[in-house]
Symmetry: C2
Subunit: 313 residues, 2 copies
């Protein structure tokens, strides 16, 4: 089966890694990366899109490799100066990073869409695959916590270091959001859709919550595969495992994630470290790979294995 | 004569020095500094107030002493990163400096006046004298040049390094500007008004162009003194001398500046280096001092001499 056009749905660090793997092996015009923007927020008058920036900086090869986000070699002089004014900044904004936020904020204020400004910034950084926000609307992920009530995503995730207990997740403003034309076109032309090993509730669910997105995916009779972010009962990074138990999904496992994606995907990649607990789901092809992407080469290898596998269906 | 309340009208670097001299010798509640905001502009979505910031950073003791503006020890990582996006920044924005612009821009967008946010920022930096913009309105100084037509002030001053030939100066939007209540009150209560050795056309004239400002000054029967920015036919800093000849004011001299301020001031301070060309103006008391403020101590000495002199009238 010929797989011409690939669309990846991704969140932050884990998603960026798989997107980078795909970008390494595919001609750029064949790859579209649709990114979660539920984490986006306005902060000090700057529009900050953490996942878009993580993916953008990763694809451009300028990401801070230690953190997996932010710019390599960036400094924090602006944040330090906020202290003079009695501010206690809780969100990491690098000085170089601020250039991105300034240009984006200015463009949005002048009427450009997030899709337009993202493409402009990504191209300036030499990124050739299409990098698209899931929607041009603001659709903030809101986290209902036991301790603090409802929190904006970054307040939950960064300020409180995802320690509050999550009771529910709400995708605010979804009713007035829509899949952007560019994202819809990419999905309609896709020969395969790959859901990255990003947090299913915090990174992928916001994408799926954009009105029309789930339909666009499900009506395509093509490989639609997800990669498990859970390996051996633990999240590779971040709060996925903690969230699963807080939200009552039972067992924290790759199997539970597969069940969560039921009806959406027809293929599932989980880690060979979970070989002892084989997963079976009706209408879902299964495969095990080494999914931990510790090096840039690993990213390309995993992407290659996934595409080779679904190409053989 | 008792001089309780002093108001200084100031521009950028030279004005900041005299304001700092006054701040060193006066109880803070007796000093109000009214600053030119004709240089203000929006840049990359940030509201930048060069003169207010120069005065604020100088009074707070955190100014870059080499340049006389900007923050000591500041870096330019954000500006450097703009290059990645094809931008060629021409206005110096330090990384620490950006914190000021972000907080101010956010406050203005949320409805605070420039007076309010300036006072808040200045207090946070430990500045006790009142620091006030000349108006809360946007009243940009526009420079009509021979080479490029009309330019925004910073485009003329920074981007073109004040090299274009100036044909005329316009204070845009003056018709809808007004002296802020705080500035008006300070002028009504003033026991003396000191016009700093700032550029008469680019720094002081915009202040005087705010509707009502000139009346507020002239109807006060108190010492109203200006300090010459021209010494021995040259400007201490910046384009004052160049402008004088371009605008057809004839001889570039302290005398010409005195004539320019005719009707506004009743006292004039010029440098003792010009003792060979004594100045006489009707209705203007004259005095010569060493007006070059090379050290912080010199600033206080000059301020003290001026206040002592007008106290003896």
């Amino acid at each position: 089966m010929a797989l011409e056009n690939i669309v990846a749905l991704v969140g932050g660090v884990g998603g960026a890694k798989l997107a980078h793997g795909l970008a390494q092996i595919l001609p750029p015009e064949r790859l579209t990366v649709i990114v979660n923007t539920g984490d986006d927020f306005w902060h000090y008058g700057l529009k900050i899109c953490p996942d878009l920036d993580t993916v953008m900086y990763t694809l451009a090869g300028i990401v801070d490799r230690t953190n997996g986000w932010g710019l390599a070699g960036d400094t924090r002089a602006m944040l330090g100066a906020m202290g003079r004014f009695g501010e206690t900044p809780w969100f990491g904004l690098g000085d170089q990073d601020i250039a991105t936020h300034l240009l984006r904020s200015q463009a949005l204020r002048s009427g450009e869409t997030l899709t337009q400004v993202t493409q402009r910034l990504a191209r300036a950084l030499g990124i050739k695959p299409a990098l698209l926000p899931m929607t041009d609307a603001e659709m903030p992920t809101m986290i209902e916590t036991v301790e603090y009530g409802e929190l904006e995503f970054q307040v939950y995730f960064v300020k409180h270091r995802w320690q509050p207990t999550v009771r529910a997740i709400r995708y605010a403003n979804a009713e007035s959001a829509a899949v952007s034309a560019a994202a819809a076109t990419a999905l309609e032309r896709a020969d395969a859709i790959v859901i990255a090993p990003s947090n299913p509730w915090l990174s992928i669910a916001p994408i799926l919550a954009v009105p029309g997105m789930r339909d666009l995916l499900c009506r395509r009779d093509i490989p639609r595969v997800a990669v498990s972010p859970i390996i051996d009962g633990k999240a590779v990074k971040g709060p996925a495992a903690k969230l699963m138990s807080e939200l009552g999904y039972g067992e924290v496992s790759a199997r539970t994630v597969a069940a969560y994606y039921r009806g959406l995907i027809n293929g599932y990649v989980y880690d060979e470290r979970d070989a002892g607990q084989p997963i079976h789901e009706e209408d879902m092809q299964m495969v095990m790979f080494d999914t931990i992407m510790t090096t840039e080469g690993h990213r390309a290898v995993l992407a290659e294995k996934i595409l080779h596998w679904i190409g053989s269906w």
